[in-house]
Structure formats: C-alpha cells, structure tokens
Symmetry: C2
C-alpha cells in the first residue's frame, strides 16, 4: 500500500528519488527526510551539483569517456601510448582500469554491449567510430575488455570481424581464476580457460 505523504513536495521528491537504480519508495523517503534535515544552502548545492552534472559534462569526442572538455583528460595526455586502445563497455570500466595503474594507452567506450534481448544492436554502440579510429592508422593494438558474458563475447566477435583486414592486433583481457580465489570453488569453465591460457611461470 502506498504511504500517505503529508506534503506534496515531499511526495514529489520521493517520486523523483525512487527513479534512482535500486532505490524503492522506502529508501527514497529516507533520502528525502535526510535532505529535509540538511541546512538549506547544502540542499541547494546538492541539487545544483546534480543539475550541473547533466549540463556541464559531455562525452569525449575521441573515446566517448565522460569529460568536462571536448577531449577527455586521458585522450589529452601526451604521455600516454596512442598506439593502444582498450575497448570497454562504460565509463565505470575506464575508472576501474585507471585504478589498476597498469595501463598507459587510450580507451574507447562502447556505451554497452550487443544484446538483442534489451534491443541493443551494433548501431547503438560506438563501434563504427572505433573502426574509423583504427583506420586513422595510429593504432597498433585494440584490447577488448568487455564483460565475460554471452553479450560481451558476441560484441568481442563482432568487433573482431569489423577490424579484420585493418592489420591491427586484436587482443582480449585474460580470463582465469581471480587473485586470492581458491581452486576448489572456481567454476569449471573459468578453470578450464585458465588452464588453456596458462602463461610461463616467471618465479614469484
């Protein structure tokens, strides 16, 4: 049963907050009552930050990463290796890879993966633009770093086919057991893959 809200502004705020992913009306009400207890200028800065988020951020012209400027900080960094491009699903994946501090190349954000069930086809993703970038000639290797799901694999294969004949090296990130995982609890497919893709042991 829906709650009776004593105020229309409260009801409206709850309705808006409940649009957030994973937030129901109960959590939304908790958020709204929390905001109500905040000082007025803090609430103003809160809502301004959310509005500016949409009006002030744009997508990088080169790699579709989120950026304040036309070209994102990664693409604009002259010290980065411009011959390697890592293909990821979303901006969050860029951040995750940046946090490893193991990658010095550029990115290409697809905006999702091919998923017929969700109505996402290749034309909804920035694949054509990726092919165009590769044809620009500067890129030597494309690293596919998509989710290890059916949709991710389909998208990997689609991109691979699209890049055939461009002479670029196409690689895919390693699948295997997670660091810290016990063998016993690893699923068979992952374990099988990690055996197939074994690498030279180089000591500790």
């Amino acid at each position: 049963m829906d709650s009776q809200y004593p105020s229309q502004s409260l009801e409206r705020a709850v309705r808006e907050l409940a649009k957030l992913p994973g937030v129901g009306r109960k959590t939304a009400l908790r958020y709204a009552l929390f905001l109500l207890r905040m000082p007025e200028e803090e609430v103003a800065s809160f809502s301004a930050a959310l509005e500016k988020l949409k009006t002030e951020t744009r997508y990088c012209r080169v790699c579709h990463n989120i950026s304040d400027t036309e070209v994102c900080p990664v693409c604009g960094d002259v010290r980065r290796d411009r011959s390697t491009v890592c293909v990821v699903e979303s901006v969050r994946d860029v951040m995750a890879i940046e946090n490893t501090q193991q990658y010095r190349g550029l990115y290409h954000v697809l905006g999702g993966v091919i998923s017929p069930i969700d109505g996402v086809g290749p034309q909804d993703l920035s694949i054509a633009h990726l092919v165009e970038r590769v044809k620009g000639g500067e890129i030597k290797e494309v690293i596919l770093a998509l989710s290890s799901t059916m949709e991710g694999d389909t998208t990997n294969f689609y991109i691979y086919r699209k890049l055939e004949g461009t002479g670029v090296r196409v690689s895919v990130i390693a699948r295997g057991i997670s660091v810290g995982d016990e063998l016993e609890y690893t699923d068979e497919i992952t374990l099988g893959r990690s055996l197939l893709n074994r690498t030279e042991f180089l000591g500790i």
Copy 2:
C-alpha cells in the same frame, strides 16, 4: 583508494550523492551515471524537486509534522478526534501509523528521543510545546508511541513526569509478540511483557 574521475562535475555530483544515508562513493557513482543517461529535462525536474523539498515544505505549527501549509492535513482535518494526541519520534512514524488506518486522533512529532550519547536532551525536542498543547485543555489522552528502546523509555518517562498534574490520561502503545511471530523465537523480555499486559480474550 579513491577513483580518478574523468570530470569535475561528475566528482562533485558523486561527493554530494555520497552524503545520503547509507550511500558510499560506489553507489553514488552508480546514481550519478544513471542521472547522466537521463534526458536533460528529467534531470532538471529531479534536481528541482529536491530543491523545492527544502524551500517549500515546512513543519506544522501544531504538531511538527511535515506540511506544505502552516497547519498539516491531519491537524487541519475537522473530522479527526482532537482530544487524543499520539506522540511519535519522527514524520516517518506518523506515516506508519496513518497507514494502519486505526487511528483518528492527532499527532505530536518530537523530532527524536532523549539520548545523552548523541547529545540530544529534552530541550532539543518539542516536549515543552507538547506540555503547552496539553495545557490548552482540549486534549484528554496522550498516547506515547516511541521506539521500544532505552532512549524511548527514558523519553516516555520524562514526558509522563512533565504531564503529571495536568489531569490528562497518559497511555503507551502495547509491547508484545508481533503478529505472525512464533513464541519460541521471541526474546524473554518481550514475552514477559506480553504476559503481564495480557488482555481479555474476545474470540477470534
């Protein structure tokens, strides 16, 4: 380790969203990226709703419930029993009791309970105003409906002492085993209270 955000507006939005109760930077980022994918006018209406929440709502002059007007819909409803006042901790409790549809009296929202550990004393709550309301003469019964905690009990007792001599009836909501609960799993204190406070069996 903190993530490297590719955009300052994104970082600011994440910092603001992470202020919400129970929301960390990961969830805040999820919310922010969700808002980024929303159409611009929806984000505008989202942030406007949050801003209006603070500027347009006020607290009811009579009972401290949230309201769009000076007197809340409950206090303004002439069909409600003005001789009974139910004392609750927060606006959420008002909504919970309203949802039972079992109560036709008025409310008094304290704004918390006495809790020396959190630095909340009687002067931080609307207890003085409650005593004033009772002294107005119209009220015959005050129902204490606070949490069944040490702090709630302390507050109950404090209010009871403050209302002594006003001639008003002070009652407290029943404590006992929850409907649907099994006796075996009920804690001893609750079970003991439910035995002490047993009521006449009136058939099913």
